[in-house]
Amino acid sequence: MDHDIFGEFREYSVAEFFKKNRQMLGFSGKVRSLTTIVHEYATNSLDACDEARILPEIEVWVAEEGEERYRVKVRDNGPGIPEKLLASALATMLSGTKFNRYVQQRGQQGIGATGCTMYALITTGQPVKVVSKHKGTAIKCSLGIDFKQNRPIVSDLIKEDCSPDDHGLEVEGTFADVKYEKSGYGVGEYLKRTAIANPHATIIFNSPEGERFTYPRSIDAIPRKAREVQPHPLGIGPNDLLDLTKGKYESTKLSSFLQNEFTRVSLNKVKELQELVPEVDFNMKPSELTWEQAEKLVAAFKKVKWIAPETDSVVPISTSQIEKSLRNILNPEIVYVTERPPKIYRGGIPFVVEVGIAYGGDVNKDKEGKPASGGVVMRFANRAPLLFDAGGCAITQTVKDIDWKRYELRNFDDEPVALLVHVVSVHVPYTSAGKQSISAEDDLVDEIRNAVMEAGRQVQRHLSGKRKEKEKVSKKAAILRYVNQISGDLSELADEVKKKEKLRANLEKMVQERFE
C-alpha cells in the first residue's frame, strides 16, 4: 500500500467549510432552520434601518410550497443596498459592513444572509431573488454562490430607476428541509419577541396558515446609535489582536499601534507592558507579530491595572420602552423593568443587562384566555431574540437557579409570568456561531442574577400586597364569625344576658374598624 495520502489534498473555501458545517450557522433541525432564515433577514433589516435612522417596517411571509418546503420573503423599508455591494452582502461569506467592527449590533459575523442563500442552494438548488431600492435605483436579480471560490453568481439582473423615497430591500428564497411550527421555537414566536425587543419597529407576519399578525411600533424614536469604540486590552484574545494588526499598520511601531487602536492604553501602560514581556520588541511592525508574541502580550494585558472602558458604547432598549412593548404585546396585569448601569466583563467588555417581568393578565394565555404555558423566559441579545439552545445559556441557568419562592412565585414553571432578559454588548459572548445562547461569564451571570432578582422583588412587592389585602379580608371574616358565640357566652358569664345584642354590635364594629 503505497499511495500518497496528500494526493487529493486541496484548500477548502470558507463557503465550502460552512456548507459542510451548516449547523454552526443555526441550520440544524427543520424548525430551527426556518426560524434562523427569518432571523438572519430580519436582523439585517433592523440593523440597516437603525444605521440609516429609519423607523423600521418589516413584513415577513412564510408560505408552504410542498413537503417541508417553504418560500420565505422578507421586505423592509431600509436604505437598500447599492449595486456593487449587493452580491457580496448576500452571497459572500464573512463579508459585509458589520464584520470586524467593535460596535453593538444584532448580527456580528457577516455570515447570516449569505448562509441563507447557501441553504436555499443546497436544499432546493434555487438562487434567492433580491429587490434592492437604493437612492433612486431599483435592482432586481437572482443570487447564487460559487462555493469553491466563495464568490457570488448574479443572474437575471434588471436595473430600473425608482423614486428616492422608495427604498428598501426584499429577499425571497425557497428552502427545503425546513418546517413551520406554531411553537416557542417557531417564526411566529420569534417575530413576536423581536417586536418586544424593538418597540420602534412595526413587524408584520403572514403565516403559512394565512393568518396575519401585526405588531405595531410602540414608540416613534429610533434607538440612539451605538458608538463604535476601540477595544479594551482586557476584552480581546490573541486571535483578535492579530486580526487588528492586519494590513493597515505597515508604517507604525507596535507601541504606537497599541496606543492608537486600543482604549485606555497610554505610553506609561506600554512601558509597563514592555517590562512584563521584555522578549517582545515593541518597535516591530504590528503585522509581524507572531501568535506566540500575541499570546504573551494578551497574558501581559491581564497583569496590568487598567482603567475600565467607557460604557456608552452599549445602548439598552430602555426601561420605559420595554415596559411599553411588554404591555402592548403581552397585556399583563403588572410589568416591571429594571434600569441598571452598564457593567464590564472580563475586565474590558462593557455590557448592560435589562430585565423585564410581566405577570398576570393575558401573559402566557391563548386566544380563549386559557393558560397556554407556565413561566416563560424570553432571552435577548442586542435586541435579537434567542430561541434555541436554552439549556446551555447563561440566562436560562441563572433564572433556573433563582429561588422563586422568595418572590411569591411558588413554581416559576406554573405561574403566569414572562421574564425578559436582554444582554446588550459590543461583544456578546455566544457559545457558538449559531448565536442562540450566551456563555456563562462570571460577571455576566452575576449581573443577570442581580437584575432578575431586582425584578423579582418588584413582583413580590405587588403579589404580597395583593395577598395581604386578601388576608385582611379573610382576617376580618375569621374574627367576625366568632362574634356571635362570644357575645352570647360573655353576656351569660357576666350575668348580663340582656346585653348580648349590644355586645355583638360593639364587637362587630370593632372588628370592622380594626381590619378596614
Binding site: 382576617k475 364569625r481 366568632y482 356571635n484 362570644i486 357566652d489 360573655l490 358569664l493 360593639n506 370593632m510
Partner: protein, 365 residues
C-alpha cells in the same frame, strides 16, 4: 376553695370583659406564661412555680380570636356546671362544646379535645383556681387506708368514709378532695406514700397502717392531682410525709413530683407540692446495709439513665449532695433496685425496713 368564690371569679372575668367592650376595647385577660422560661424553683418555699412573666390574651387578634372565644365558652360552661352542681371530665366538656358556630359557618366551637386542654389551664392560671374548682374532673388514681374519717358531700348526699374500714381494697382517692370533702377525724401520726400498688397490698395485709398508726397511700405510679391534693391537705394537718419508691430514676421522679411539683403543673404551685416530704428509700446505699439486696439489683434501662442525668441537672435536686451521690451511683453502676426486692428474704421485711428507716431517721431530703 369555696364554690361561691369560684363563681364570683368567673362572673368577675365576664364583667371585666363586658366593661372592656363597652369602652370600645377588645376583651382581654391576663395569664402567667406557662412556658419553661417562666418556671422557677423557689428555694425559700421548696416548690416549682411560675415567674412574673404574663401574657395578655385578646379577642381582636387573628391568631388568638378562636382560642379566646373558646376560653370564654369554657368559663361560661364551668359557671353552669357550678350552678347546677354537676361535674364532668374535660372530654365531657369537649362534647358539651362541640357544636357548629352557626348554620352558615363551616366551623365548630371545638374540633378536637386537645384544643380545650390548654385553655382550661389558661383559666386556672388567670383565675387562680384549680380545674377541680371548675367542676372538671380528672381520672382517679391512688388508694388510701388508715385511721382517718372523711365526710363526702356528693350528689346531694352526705357520706362518712372510715378509711380504716375499707378491707383489702382501700378507699379510692377521688379526683377532687377539696370541694365537698372534709376531714372528720384523723388519728394517724404520719403519711406513708408507697409507689407501687403491690407493696401497698403487702403492707395492707400486714395491717402496717394499723400497727404503726399511719395513713398508707399508693399513687400507683405517678401521683394524680387528687392524690397530691390529699397528701398536701394531710401535711397541712401537721402529719409528716414519707415516700417509698423503687430505687431508680422513675421512682425518684415520682418522689420529686410529689415534693416540688412538676414542670407541667408548675402553675399550680403550692397546692400540688409537699416540700416537707421525706424520702425513705429504696436507695443505692441500702445495699451496704442489707447485703441480700446486692444480688437482687437489675440492670437500669436507657430511660432510667437518661432520667437520672436529667434529674442531676435540676437545681432543686442537685442542691442536695445526698441526691447527687445517689444518682451518681445509678449512673456509675448502671443498676437499679425495685421496692419488691425487699421481699426477697421475707415478705414481712418490707414493714421492718420502713420502721427501721423512720426510727433511725434514715431518709433523704
Amino acid at each position: 376553695m369555696a364554690e361561691k368564690e369560684t363563681l364570683e371569679k368567673l362572673t368577675g372575668l365576664g364583667k371585666t370583659m363586658v366593661e372592656q367592650v363597652d369602652k370600645g376595647k377588645s376583651p382581654t385577660f391576663e395569664a402567667s406564661l406557662r412556658s419553661k422560661g417562666n418556671i422557677e424553683f423557689d428555694k425559700s418555699v421548696g416548690f416549682l412555680r411560675l415567674g412574673d412573666k404574663k401574657e395578655e390574651r385578646t379577642f381582636l387578634n387573628v391568631s388568638q380570636a378562636r382560642t379566646f372565644m373558646q376560653t370564654v365558652a369554657v368559663a361560661n360552661k364551668a359557671k353552669k356546671f357550678l350552678a347546677e352542681d354537676l361535674h364532668t371530665s374535660i372530654r365531657g366538656l369537649y362534647y358539651q362544646l362541640k357544636f357548629s358556630l352557626g348554620e352558615d359557618i363551616d366551623e365548630s366551637l371545638f374540633e378536637e379535645q386537645s384544643e380545650s386542654n390548654a385553655l382550661v389551664e389558661d383559666l386556672e392560671v388567670a383565675l387562680s383556681v384549680k380545674r377541680e374548682d371548675l367542676h372538671l374532673t380528672t381520672d382517679r388514681k391512688g388508694v388510701v387506708a388508715g385511721n382517718m374519717i372523711v365526710k363526702d358531700n356528693f350528689a346531694g348526699e352526705q357520706t362518712e368514709i372510715d378509711c380504716a374500714q375499707q378491707g383489702r381494697s382501700g378507699w379510692m382517692i377521688p379526683s377532687d378532695v377539696d370541694n365537698g370533702m372534709e376531714f372528720v377525724d384523723i388519728k394517724a401520726k404520719y403519711v406513708l406514700v408507697v409507689e407501687k400498688d403491690a407493696l401497698w397490698q403487702r403492707l395492707n395485709e400486714d395491717r402496717f397502717w394499723k400497727k404503726d398508726n399511719c395513713i398508707l397511700i399508693t399513687p400507683k405510679g405517678q401521683a394524680s392531682r387528687g392524690t397530691r391534693r390529699l397528701i398536701r391537705r394531710l401535711a397541712d394537718k401537721g402529719l409528716p410525709v414519707y415516700v417509698f419508691t423503687d430505687c431508680d430514676a422513675w421512682g425518684w421522679y415520682i418522689y420529686w413530683t410529689i415534693k416540688t411539683g412538676s414542670m407541667n403543673l408548675a402553675y399550680l404551685g403550692r397546692d400540688f407540692s409537699i416540700p416537707e416530704a421525706k424520702f425513705l428509700g429504696v436507695t443505692m446505699s441500702d445495699i451496704e446495709k442489707f447485703p441480700f439486696l446486692k444480688k437482687l439489683t437489675i440492670k437500669a434501662k436507657e430511660i432510667d439513665i437518661k432520667r437520672a442525668e436529667e434529674m442531676i441537672s435540676y437545681p432543686w435536686i442537685n442542691m442536695h449532695p445526698e441526691w447527687v451521690s445517689e444518682l451518681n451511683k445509678v449512673l456509675k453502676t448502671g443498676q437499679k433496685i425495685e421496692q419488691d426486692a425487699l421481699q426477697g428474704e421475707r415478705l414481712t421485711f418490707v414493714g421492718e425496713y420502713i420502721r427501721q428507716k423512720i426510727k433511725n431517721k434514715e431518709w433523704l431530703p
